[in-house]
């Protein structure tokens, strides 16, 4: 049971990391990403291949996973920068499917649908399973903490302000002299890097990855996590990540209590409930359960909102 809880905490950290990555692109910069699972897969495969086939250290693998995901993210953003958001939705969805199909079919490299097994984990051999789980929880939590601090700083830095300006009105940002495309590409690359790290860590934790893991459903889960926490809000993204894992796991315990369901029906019911929940939250709280805090900039001598209300 303890092991299970620790494993769920690790999963929670990874979901929170993915939600942070999505927040950077969708929450801050307003660029939708319906194929985030593709970047997770790029990071996971890059790290797994480098550590399994070339026996490079795990740290190098994870870093390479981040770089690989960032590069692909940058390219996707560059191609779609001039296009409206609905095209970005289509392209990102297509990108994720392309990655999954490639991973399923380039058997010489990825071992196809059988997946890659034997991905090394830090000190997996020397520690027992319990200590290993704890160690990995420490690593995942540390990575999440670093990403969180980075994301918070970034959101408040001029960089984050420009991203919000682009999200709210791209033309105004361009007129104000901001190189919109460059900012979009950077934001997308950074978000993709966080997704790639999450994927790489997942592979090292479980020692096994396969194309089946990187399905569109995961994209929905992470989108749900960010929405549940609140778009544009790093703290919300982290809370949302843990909340979604909690929901998914509770469903795993509750659904078998429904009598007369086959395993397939149970799984279908679970996925249905998650999708329905996403629709309900999106409907009732389009900006998430904890919306982005509005920044108030004091301008000396200017009339503030409260002054206007008084007059």
């Amino acid at each position: 049971m303890e092991n299970y809880l620790i494993a769920m905490a690790v999963t929670g950290c990874l979901y929170a990391l993915m939600a942070l990555g999505l927040n950077l692109t969708w929450g801050l910069a307003g660029m939708v990403n319906l194929g985030l699972v593709g970047f997770v897969a790029v990071g996971a495969y890059a790290s797994a291949l480098l550590t399994v086939k070339l026996s490079l250290p795990i740290v190098v693998g994870v870093a390479a996973g981040a770089v690989a995901a960032a590069l692909t993210g940058g390219i996707v953003a560059l191609i779609t920068a001039r296009l409206r958001g609905d095209y970005l939705a289509i392209v990102t969805l297509g990108f994720a499917e392309t990655i999954r199909i490639t991973a399923s079919n380039e058997i010489w490299l990825t071992n196809g649908t059988d997946g890659l097994s034997g991905i090394p984990g830090p000190y997996r051999g020397t520690l027992g399973p319990e200590l290993y789980n704890l160690l990995f929880l420490g690593i995942a939590a540390a990575v999440l903490a670093i990403a969180f601090v980075f994301a918070e700083r970034l959101a408040q830095a001029p960089f984050g302000r420009v991203l919000r300006a682009i999200r709210d009105d791209e033309q105004v940002a361009a007129v104000a002299g901001k190189p919109v495309t460059a900012f979009k590409v950077k934001a997308f690359a950074l978000g993709a890097a966080a997704l790639g790290v999450a994927g790489a860590l997942y592979g090292h934790y479980t020692s096994y990855i396969a194309p089946d893991i990187f399905v569109p459903l995961l994209t929905l889960y992470v989108t749900l996590a960010l929405l549940a926490g609140g778009r544009g809000n790093s703290r919300g993204a982290v809370i949302g990540g843990f909340l979604v894992v909690f929901l998914l796991e509770s469903a795993r315990f509750v659904i078998p209590l429904v009598p007369g369901l086959t395993a397939v029906q149970g799984a279908a019911l679970r996925e249905f409930l998650i999708a329905a929940l996403l629709i309900v939250i999106l409907r009732l709280r389009p900006n998430g359960l904890v919306p982005e805090p509005r920044l108030h900039v004091e301008i000396p001598g200017a009339t503030t909102d409260s002054d206007l209300q008084l007059s």
């Binding site: 939708v32 319906l34 191609i79 779609t80 001039r82 296009l83 958001g85 609905d86 095209y87 939705a89 289509i90 392209v91 969805l93 297509g94 990108f95 499917e97 392309t98 199909i101 490639t102 399923s104 079919n105 569109p216 459903l217 994209t219 929905l220 989108t223 086959t262 397939v264 029906q265 799984a267 279908a268 019911l269 996925e271 249905f272 998650i274 999708a275 329905a276 996403l278 629709i279 999106l282 409907r283 389009p286």
Partner: protein, 290 residues
Amino acid sequence: MGLAERVIQLLLNGLMSGALLAVPAIGLTLIYAVLRFPNFAVAAHATVGAFAGYVANTRLGLPILPSVLCAFAVAGLLGVASDEIVLKPFRPAGPITTAIASVALTVALENVVRFGFGNELRGYDLPIARDWRLGAIRIGPQQVENLAIAIIAVAALFAFLGSTRTGKAMRAVADNPTLANIKGINADAIGRLASFAGMGLSGLGGMLIGLDTTIDPLTGFRTVLSVFAAAVVGGLGSVPGAVIGALTVGIGEELSLLFLSPEYRSVVGFLVILLVLTMRPRGILGQRAY
């Protein structure tokens, strides 16, 4: 088989699969033209249509033609209901939020199908027929029947848009919703009609694609990339564009078999999307609905 014959065979296959693809692509583009968001739920509606046709065909013992009508009607009615209940409230929040909701809707509907039918592959009850041969070129009679159904469906839609009053009203809403509103056209009713026709065509297309192979809860999702590719290539929102786009993507996917393995078919769709968006962001025919 020589290379020339192989190319001819692939062109022929591409033309036929492109014609089938045109049906859901028109459905998608019609909904985009009127309601102005990319509705990813065409995937689930294609699956629902395929299964509705399957039930009519194997459980009720109907022949293919009435089963296809069943697929159209069930998917169309579901399309109106799901749009009214789930997607319509999202429209004020913008096309992207609505698109995300439509992805969630697709997953939800897909799982309803999975709940009822399970994951196994199912086939329609078809009469066994020998392929026709012309030298080394082969054509299946069922493929020809599918092609005929697709052509009739597309022709019916063109006739509806081109020569009925309601069809004109739909084009007017697609062209300029404000102006259409001033002229007293009920945009809500037109929206419902677009959902019915669009999702009905998706369902019909899902069944036609299933007739070629087998169906399972992911039938729609597997083809959605090609469907979107077809609509984007032709110009999202343009009905004739969707036909041209579908034929382009269909032929492109088949010709890719000359140098790629068949699993990469839908990747070809994605590459075509990228190519078109880089060179001609509004598609071949641009955005005019008709």
